[in-house]
Amino acid sequence: MTAPLTITVNGQPRTVAASPWRRLLDVLREDLGLTGTKEGCGEGECGACTVLLDGAPVCSCLVVAGQADGRAVTTVEGLADGPLLHAVQRELVARGGAQCGICTPGIAVCAAAVVDAGACKGGDARAQVRELLAGNICRCTGYQLIVDAIVAAAADVERGQP
């Protein structure tokens, strides 16, 4: 038998008795009940299952549980600070940057990572969003309002507005 896995999820150490071959996506959704993370394609193409692994955006369908053992995972449930939404979440809500909502958690997580890293500002902010979020596919919105929201969130973060 393999020892249980310990994954720090949204700041809390969680112990999971899962096969190391089990997808992180399934560990999060089925074993830990964190259903905010969505499965779209299951092949790393659509980005709906994006979470942060040690702070870096990854497709949780392309990470197995063993790879997350001893590491920190942030899901969409961990973006907000209590009742205070992350700037990306707040701007997506304020600007209507969502439609059916399946891609939205992955977009929020990926955008939060790149905005918190200081990207998506300046004259080519929209182009940066288009490149850095190219791995998050939305089939409803046409992207304009999503890009608007992420650019606005990057400006909020730069101003120190949480």
Binding site: P20, G44, G47, P57, L62, V63, Q67, L133, G135
Partner: protein
């Protein structure tokens, strides 16, 4: 249950590889874990993510650890200064989520004919560094891919690094990926080149092409058509014509053989004319 081993350092990884030749070696997993839940469960996993990582540049060239992520390559100012086609290709591997996890060594090991990082390594005349408990060895990259998804990697070996020499002065480097969209979509055709221009002629030509044969290949006939010639439109056309002897594109869900043949030739021809323009 699947055994899971995470080595404590690079030497430990090599020792574990020798002891567990039947284990799945997993780096970023962006290729091997596609639809993992529908695949046979491996006996064991050797998790080498984070091992053999890092970029160093010196007078001889660049050394890129096999575990270096595409994101690290995409954002390396040192690589961009001398080998701009490496970061350019890295930025077109999947998208951010894939670049974060995927490694150059993984691209080499899975050796897909559509591996986005591979034509550039052919054009740059890369050398692959391998290690096992028996010792270390190097293989020129153009000899590393032996067939469809097969390589010269031994069952007890790990890829440790890729080295690329500094291009000779006056070398034109080119890279172009053609797919349905810039991000994520698997390429229809890829091409890279290193054209060393001396006294107005192409002294050395290396063309690396992908998605047009069972493996990423050097285009030998196209290289011969370019070598010793001036980078003119006539030579560009001759290079495109010669490429037909090098590649064996197929019809599949992403494109057709005819389209791939036409576009691959056009890409190489454009490299030659661009090189001519660069020389002004």
């Amino acid at each position: 249950m699947t055994a899971y081993l995470r080595p404590t350092d690079d030497a430990h990884a090599i020792a574990l590889r020798a002891a567990h030749a039947d284990y799945l070696v997993l780096a970023g997993g962006t290729d091997l874990l596609v639809a993992a839940h529908h695949k046979p469960v491996p006996v064991g996993i050797l998790d080498i993510a984070g091992r053999f990582a890092g970029i160093t540049v010196d007078a001889a060239g660049a050394r890129i650890g096999a575990g270096t992520s595409w994101r690290a390559i995409a954002t390396s100012a040192e690589l961009a200064a001398t080998w701009p086609i490496l970061p350019a290709a890295a930025r077109e591997v999947g998208a951010l989520q894939i670049q974060t996890r995927g490694t150059i060594g993984g691209n080499l090991a899975t050796s897909s004919p559509v591996g986005d990082g591979l034509p550039v390594l052919l054009a740059l005349d890369a050398t692959i560094h391998l290690a096992s408990v028996r010792g270390a060895r190097t293989v020129p990259y153009h000899q590393f891919c032996t067939g469809y998804r097969t390589t010269a990697l031994g069952a007890d070996e790990l890829i440790t690094a890729v080295t690329v020499p500094r291009p000779a002065p006056g070398t034109y480097l080119g890279w172009r990926k053609v797919g349905t969209r810039a991000a994520q979509s698997i390429s229809k055709v890829m091409a890279a080149c290193a054209l060393e221009i001396v006294d107005g002629r192409i002294a050395t030509a290396r063309f690396g092409v992908g998605a047009v044969a069972a493996r990423p290949i050097r285009a030998a006939a196209a290289e011969a058509a370019a070598t010793g010639q001036p980078p003119t439109a006539a030579v560009a056309a001759a290079v495109a014509a010669a490429l037909r002897h090098d590649i064996t594109p197929i019809d599949d869900v992403r494109s057709t053989a005819a389209y791939r043949l036409e576009v691959a030739g056009n890409l190489l021809a454009r490299f030659v004319t661009n090189a001519g323009r660069t020389q002004g």
